[in-house]
């Protein structure tokens, strides 16, 4: 008895691995990262400019922008399959969860 094997083609993956940006685009991203690092360092010199209540929000904002630029452009999350982004964001969400639970345990419930 002959058996007919029908090969099911693999689902079309979102293969964007060849959509990588040009070298010049990478250099521009690196320039932005360098400027942001310079600005972050500038906040340290309070005698030049007092950022007041804007200091921590500004630092966190610049950190998020740098993080996002490296993750999306250099790590190619912008161009790759979205499952990779989900893996990474899943880890980040769990990590933030760990911090929130630890903070709550030690800072609030301990008292």
């Amino acid at each position: 008895m002959s058996e007919t094997v029908t090969e099911t083609p693999a689902p079309e993956a979102e293969d964007h691995s060849h959509d990588h940006p040009s070298d010049w685009a990478y250099i521009k991203i690196a320039l932005v990262l360098g400027v942001l690092t310079g600005l972050e360092t500038f906040t340290y010199f309070e005698t030049v400019l007092d950022w007041g209540d804007f200091l921590i929000p500004s630092l966190l904002f610049m950190m998020v922008i740098k993080f996002w630029l490296v993750a999306t452009w250099f790590m190619h999350l912008k161009f790759d399959n979205s499952i990779f982004s989900r893996m990474f964001v899943g880890g980040l969400v769990l990590a933030v969860g760990v911090y929130v639970i630890a903070l709550a345990t030690f800072e609030f419930w301990e008292r």
């Binding site: 693999a10 690196a30 972050e40 966190l60 790590m75 880890g91 911090y99």
Partner: protein, 208 residues
């Protein structure tokens, strides 16, 4: 003939890293690993944030890391690590084009910048020790050295991976067919960079 069949099968197995979803298993594994690394560093950063002002039960005049931070120096180290991410993507880009000489140059540049970062960290640790901030001085310093030490070990592992790629390239074993291998090492390297972006802001720049 049987040997030839086995060889062909092995070649196919080595070339085909895809899964039924069409996604590379190796790349997916690296992303799962990086997701789990977020938890490791999340735990270490949380611990430092909780202990950063605790001088311990001993003499209260003992210094904690925030007393001895050298922000301009650390800023330069951060900039160096950021630029190593640029050289890493340029290495990948060069390999994709089939430009082996440029690939080697950028791989070596990335490893060198990583080495400069590690050198800076060793200098920073030495300075801290001279200022009386040791690993066991107080809970704040223990948490600080554990966190930044773990990060330093990750950077060092990355340098070893980069040097392996460099040697493979010199031996002619790194061709455009191996783009994914370089991309995966690159993912690890960029991850180490994003972790430092977080550490630099949250640990060094945000005042205690």
């Amino acid at each position: 003939m049987a040997t030839a069949t086995v060889d062909t099968a092995l070649d196919t197995a080595h070339e085909d890293h895809g899964s039924s979803t069409g996604i590379s298993n190796t790349k997916l594994a690296m992303w799962v690993f990086l997701g789990s690394e977020c938890l490791l560093f999340g735990g270490l950063i949380s611990t430092y944030l909780l202990y950063k002002t605790r001088r311990g039960p001993g003499p209260t005049n003992l210094a904690i890391p925030t007393d001895v931070f050298d922000i301009p120096f650390t800023s330069v180290s951060s900039f160096v690590l950021l630029m190593s991410s640029l050289t890493m993507v340029l290495a990948l880009s060069a390999l994709t084009r089939g430009d082996n000489a440029a690939t080697r140059t950028w791989l070596l540049a990335t490893a060198t910048l990583g080495g400069v970062f590690i050198g800076g960290q060793v200098y920073e640790f030495t300075t801290f020790l001279r200022e009386g901030v040791g690993f066991t001085s107080n809970p704040a310093s223990s948490a600080f050295f554990t966190l930044t030490g773990f990060h330093g070990v990750h950077v060092s592992m990355g340098i070893l991976m980069l040097m392996s790629l460099y040697v493979a390239s010199v031996q002619g074993n790194l061709t455009p067919k191996n783009t994914e291998t370089v991309e995966i090492v690159g993912l690890y390297w960029h991850f180490v960079d994003v972790v430092w972006i977080f550490i630099f802001t949250v640990i060094y720049l945000i005042p205690a």
